[in-house]
Amino acid sequence: MVDLATRTAPVPAEPAEFPGVSIALGVPLARWSLRARDAKALAKAVGHKVPTKIGGTEGGMACLGPDEWLLRLPEGATISMGEGLPLSVVDISERAITLVLEGPRAIDVLQSGAPRDLSKFAVGEARRTIYETVEMVLIREGEERWAVDVWRSFAPYLREALVTAASHLR
C-alpha cells in the first residue's frame, strides 16, 4: 500500500452538507474493468462471484454490460490478471473517484441532471448512465445512499453540479 500523503484527489475531501443530503468523496478503492464472453470463466479466473444480469451487483462486482463488469474492492486488494485467458482484466483503480451521496434527498440531487427515472433504480443496482453531459457509474448502495464513480477529470464538474443542485433543494 502506498503512502496516503502522496495521493491527490480532484475534489475536496470535506463533505458538502445540506439538509437531507451530504455529498462526500469516497475512500480510495481498487477497481478493475473485467471483460469476458463467459461469466463463469471470469469468475473462476478472478475468484469473485460474477452477476450475469446487466445492472446486477454481487459483492463489489457490478455487471455493466453483456460482457463487462466493474469490480470495486478495498484499496490494496489484488486479483489475478488472467494472463493468456480469453478475457480482459485492467486495473482502473485511479481512473475514477467515488462521490457518495447520502440522505433522503440524495435521489433528488442526482435526478437534477440524470435523465433516467431513479425512483425505478433498485437498491443494489449499478449502471453506467449520465448526468447532464458527464458519464458515471451509479450504484444504489442503500435506500438513501448512492455511490457515483466518475472519471477523475469530470469529478470537479460533477461535484459542483451536485452541490449546486443540493443548494437549490426546497
Partner: protein
C-alpha cells in the same frame, strides 16, 4: 427527447444515453481488395436515406456500451423496434 429500448439492458431509456451510428446492415466486405472501385464506393458512401422505415444502428454508449440495431420511422421519429447486433434485418 425520445426513449429508446436497449435490447441488451432490456430497458427503455432516455435518448441522452445513446448515440446514433448510421445505417444498419452494411457489412464490411470480407476482402475489400477484391472489390471494384464502384463496389467499394457503394459500400463506403451509398446509403438508403429513406423517408419512413429505416434500419439503423445505435450505441448505448453511456450505458452497456453495445451497438445494436433499430427500425425507426425517419418521418415521425417513432421507433418500431430494436434488436441486437448480428440479428437479421427486421
Amino acid at each position: 427527447m425520445i426513449l429508446i429500448h436497449c435490447p441488451y439492458c432490456e430497458q427503455t431509456l432516455p435518448e441522452l444515453e445513446f448515440a446514433y451510428a448510421g445505417e444498419a446492415h452494411i457489412a464490411r466486405p470480407a476482402d475489400p481488395s477484391a472489390l471494384s472501385d464502384e463496389e467499394w464506393e457503394k459500400y463506403l458512401f451509398i446509403r438508403a436515406n429513406p423517408r419512413g422505415r429505416h434500419n439503423e444502428r445505435w450505441r448505448h454508449v453511456h450505458g452497456c456500451g453495445r451497438f445494436f440495431n433499430a427500425v425507426r420511422d425517419t418521418a415521425t421519429d417513432n421507433f418500431e423496434l430494436t434488436y441486437k447486433a448480428g440479428e437479421p434485418r427486421k
